[in-house]
C-alpha cells in the first residue's frame, strides 16, 4: 500500500480494529449475497464480526454454518455458480480440508472470494503464523493476494470481488495469524457509496439457471478438459493488468494504491528484501535502519502471488546485486516457496542478482527488525547457496 499525498480522496471513518474485523468490514461493504463460514482459530473473529453486523441489520446476506469447511466450499461454489456474490473465510486446516473443492471451484470458474488467516498446518499442532497453508494451494487455480495490515485486508477484500468477477476466477486473500489477524490498528472504513461505485452488483454471465438452459459440472472428453486449463490460463493472464487497473482506481477513490508488486526505496538499492505478508512491515523498518547506517537497502513486496508478477519482479531486481528472500513457510525437501518462485522467474534472463533464500519465521518464530538488519550485513557479500538457509528466529 502506498499513500498518495496530494489526492483529495474522501476519507471514511478511521476506526481502531483488528485485521480480522477489518476483513469483516470489507466483506460487509462488498455486499455478498451468500456467506457460508465455519469457525476455526484464528479466523473466528471474522465470523463473529460478520454475525454481529448481520444481527445489527448492517450486513444483509444469507449466512450459513455448514458442518465442515469442505461443505463450506461446496455451498460457496453452487451459490456462486447460480449467480450470487459469495464470501467465506477460513484458516489452515480448514483451507486444506477444502483442497479438493478449491480445484473444483476454480475449474468451474466460480467467482468466490475467500479470506484465509495464515496458520501452521498440523502436525504437530500449532496456531502460529506461517504461510504454508495457502502457498501449498498455489496450483489450484485461485488468484492469491497477501495482505500486510488490517487496512490492506479491508481494501483487498473489496478489490478481490471486482477482480474475481472480471476474470471469472476465485480469489483468495491471506494475512498472517495474530500479527495481522489480531493486531489492532487504525483502519479507514470507506463509505458504502464509495464501495458501491467501485464494485457494481454481480451479474453472472454464466450461471446455473434452467431458464437459460445451462448446467455446470458435466464430465468432458480429454480435449475439453485440456481446453478448460487453457481458458483458465487466459484468465490468469489477465489478472495482473486488471488488478493494476482496479488498484489504481481504488487509489483514486481512497488514496491507497495496491499494485501487484510494491517497491520501497529500491531505485538505487544494492540489496533488497523480497517477501509477502506481515514480514514486509518488519522489512520496511529494517530498510530504513540500513539506509541510516549507510547501506542502500530496499524492499520488494508481493501483494499478488498467483499469478506471480514475474515481469515486474525481473524489472524490480534489474541491476540489484543482492536479494534476500524472506520465506515464512517451508516446502519440505525444496525450500521457501517464494524463493523457488523468484528463482524460476529470473532463470534464463540476464539478471545477475545473487538470490539468497532465507527461512525466516517458519512456524511463527519471531523475526525482529534487528535480525533483518544483521542478515543484510551478513549476506551482502556471500555467495548464494542453491537451497534454503534456516534462520533461527527469536524464540528458537
Amino acid at each position: 500500500m502506498k499513500d498518495m499525498p496530494g489526492t483529495d480522496a474522501p476519507r471514511g471513518a478511521l476506526r481502531l480494529m483488528s485485521g480480522n474485523h477489518a476483513v469483516a468490514e470489507g466483506a460487509r461493504l462488498a455486499r455478498p449475497e451468500v456467506t457460508p463460514v465455519y469457525p476455526i482459530t484464528p479466523q473466528t473473529p471474522i465470523l463473529e464480526k460478520l454475525t454481529e453486523l448481520q444481527s445489527a441489520g448492517e450486513f444483509v446476506t444469507e449466512m450459513l454454518t455448514p458442518e465442515s469447511e469442505h461443505s463450506v466450499m461446496a455451498t460457496a461454489m453452487t451459490a456462486s455458480l447460480s449467480g450470487a456474490r459469495v464470501f467465506t473465510a477460513t484458516s489452515s486446516q480448514g483451507l486444506m480440508l477444502m483442497h479438493e473443492l478449491l480445484h473444483y471451484a476454480a475449474g468451474a470458474r466460480a467467482t468466490i472470494v475467500m479470506f484465509n488467516v495464515n496458520r501452521t498446518p498440523a502436525s504437530p499442532w500449532g496456531f502460529w503464523p506461517d504461510q504454508l497453508d495457502s502457498l501449498s494451494q498455489r496450483d489450484t487455480g485461485w488468484v492469491q493476494l497477501y495482505s500486510e495490515s488490517p487496512q490492506d485486508s479491508l481494501d483487498l477484500v473489496i478489490q478481490a470481488f471486482r477482480l474475481a468477477e472480471r476474470v471469472r476466477l476465485p480469489v483468495m486473500i491471506s494475512h498472517d495469524a495474530f500479527y495481522v489477524s489480531h493486531a489492532v490498528e487504525p483502519v479507514d472504513v470507506p463509505a458504502q457509496d464509495l464501495v458501491d461505485g467501485f464494485l457494481p452488483p454481480f451479474e453472472a454471465e454464466f450461471r446455473l439457471d434452467p431458464d437459460i438452459g445451462r448446467s455446470i459440472g458435466a464430465p468432458v472428453d480429454q480435449a475439453t478438459w485440456n481446453q478448460s486449463r487453457r481458458d483458465m490460463a487466459e484468465a490468469m493472464g489477465r489478472v495482473i493488468a486488471e488488478f493494476t487497473r482496479f488498484g489504481a482506481q481504488w487509489g483514486r477513490l481512497t488514496g491507497r494504491v495496491h499494485a501487484p508488486l510494491q517497491l520501497y526505496r529500491t531505485e538505487d538499492a544494492e540489496i533488497v528484501f523480497v517477501t509477502l505478508g506481515s514480514l514486509a512491515g518488519t522489512a520496511r523498518v529494517a530498510v530504513d535502519m540500513l539506509r541510516r547506517a549507510g547501506m542502500r537497502a530496499g524492499l520488494v513486496k508481493l501483494c499478488l502471488f498467483r499469478p506471480l508478477p514475474a515481469e515486474a519482479l525481473r524489472s524490480a531486481l534489474d541491476g540489484v546485486p543482492v536479494a534476500l528472500v524472506l520465506d515464512r513457510n517451508y516446502s519440505v525437501g525444496t525450500g521457501g516457496v517464494l524463493h523457488q518462485e523468484l528463482k524460476s522467474a529470473l532463470h534464463g534472463t540476464a539478471n545477475a542478482t545473487r538470490v539468497h533464500g532465507l527461512l525466516t519465521g517458519v512456524g511463527g518464530v519471531d523475526v525482529p527488525v534487528e535480525q533483518l538488519v544483521d542478515l543484510a550485513q551478513e549476506f551482502r557479500e556471500r555467495v548464494p547457496e542453491n537451497g534454503p538457509i534456516w534462520i533461527d528466529g527469536h524464540g528458537r
Binding site: 469457525p39 482459530t41 463473529e48 454475525t51 465442515s68 480440508l97
Partner: protein, 274 residues
C-alpha cells in the same frame, strides 16, 4: 476391585487441563480414569484417540498412548489403530462439534462397521473452543450473539442415529454423575463391537443455562434392552436428559484380518466349529 494393580491416578498424565473452571469435561476425565482402573488394564495397553475441540484435549491428560488427530476424524484414526493393533483397548473421545458436525459421516460408518472400540462424546451443545457458535445438538431457539434468534435447525439426535446405524452399545450419561458414568464406560469397553456413550457435559462458559442439567437429569425409568425395536420406542419418548444404558446389541464385531490368522487352519477351524 481392591485387588486391582492400577489406580485412577495411574492413568492421569502430569499435564494440567486448561478447560474453563466448571467445565463438565473435568468430570469426564475423572470417570474415564476411574473406569480404566476398574478395567485394570495397563495404561500402555490402552489408547485414547481424539479429534479437535475442548473434549479432544483428553489424550494429553491421560497416561495412555494417544493421538490428538485432525478435526472430525477421530473414528477413522481409531479404526486404523484398532485393526492394526486389536490387542489395544481403544477409547475415542470427541465432542458434539467434532463428532456430529465435521465428523458426522464417520459416526454413521463407524457404527455400521462395528469395530471393537468405545466412542465417548462429550456433548455440551455448543462449539466451546471457538467461543460459542451453535453446534449440531444446539436447541433451534437458543438465542446468542453468534446465533441471533436461534438457528431454527432441527438438532442432531445422536442416540437415534447410533442405534439406526448399527452401534452395538448405546448409552447416555451426565458428566456430574461420576459413579454411573464410570460404570457405563466399563460396560461399554467390555461389550464387544462399537460402543457409543454420549455424555452430557455442561459448558458453563458459553452455555451457563446448562448448570441446570445437574437437577434435571434423571435415570431412565426403563431397563436396557437388546431389542433394537424396543430401544427405538424408548428413544421416541426421550426427553434428552434421561441417563443409563439404552441398548446392548448382539452383533458380531468387525474382525480384522490379523497376521496370526492368515493361513492358520487351526484358528479358522475353531471359529467355524459347529
Amino acid at each position: 476391585m481392591n485387588a486391582n494393580a492400577f489406580k485412577a491416578k495411574d492413568y492421569k498424565s502430569d499435564v494440567t487441563p486448561i478447560w474453563c473452571p466448571g467445565c463438565g469435561d473435568y468430570h469426564v476425565l475423572m470417570s474415564i480414569t476411574k473406569a480404566m482402573a476398574d478395567l485394570n488394564r495397563d495404561p500402555k495397553d490402552m489408547a485414547v484417540i481424539s479429534g479437535i475441540g475442548c473434549s479432544s484435549r483428553i489424550p494429553a491428560y491421560t497416561n495412555c498412548y494417544g493421538f490428538h488427530g485432525v478435526h472430525g476424524r477421530s473414528l477413522a484414526l481409531a479404526s486404523g489403530l484398532k485393526v492394526s493393533r486389536p490387542d489395544l483397548t481403544v477409547l475415542v473421545m470427541s465432542g458434539d462439534g467434532d463428532g456430529y458436525s465435521i465428523g458426522g459421516n464417520h459416526f454413521l460408518h463407524a457404527c455400521r462397521r462395528n469395530i471393537d472400540m468405545t466412542y465417548i462424546v462429550m456433548d455440551n451443545r455448543v462449539y466451546g473452543m471457538t467461543k460459542g457458535q451453535p453446534s449440531p445438538t444446539t436447541e433451534p431457539d437458543w438465542d446468542s450473539a453468534l446465533s441471533p434468534g436461534g438457528t431454527g435447525l432441527s438438532p442432531f439426535q445422536p442416540l437415534v442415529i447410533a442405534l439406526a446405524s448399527g452401534a452395538n452399545f448405546v448409552a447416555r450419561e451426565f458428566s456430574g454423575d461420576i459413579k454411573n458414568t464410570t460404570k457405563t464406560i466399563v460396560e461399554a469397553v467390555n461389550h464387544p463391537g462399537f460402543s457409543f456413550v454420549e455424555i452430557l457435559s455442561p459448558c458453563v462458559t458459553f452455555r451457563p443455562d446448562e448448570r441446570a442439567w445437574k437437577g434435571a437429569v434423571h435415570r431412565a425409568s426403563v431397563d436396557e434392552t437388546d431389542d433394537p425395536a424396543r430401544a427405538a420406542r424408548r428413544i421416541l419418548t426421550d426427553d434428552g436428559l434421561n441417563t443409563g444404558i439404552l441398548y446392548r446389541g448382539k452383533r458380531a464385531p468387525y474382525q480384522a484380518h490379523v497376521k496370526d490368522e492368515a493361513g492358520d487352519a487351526g484358528i479358522l477351524d475353531a471359529r467355524f466349529k459347529v
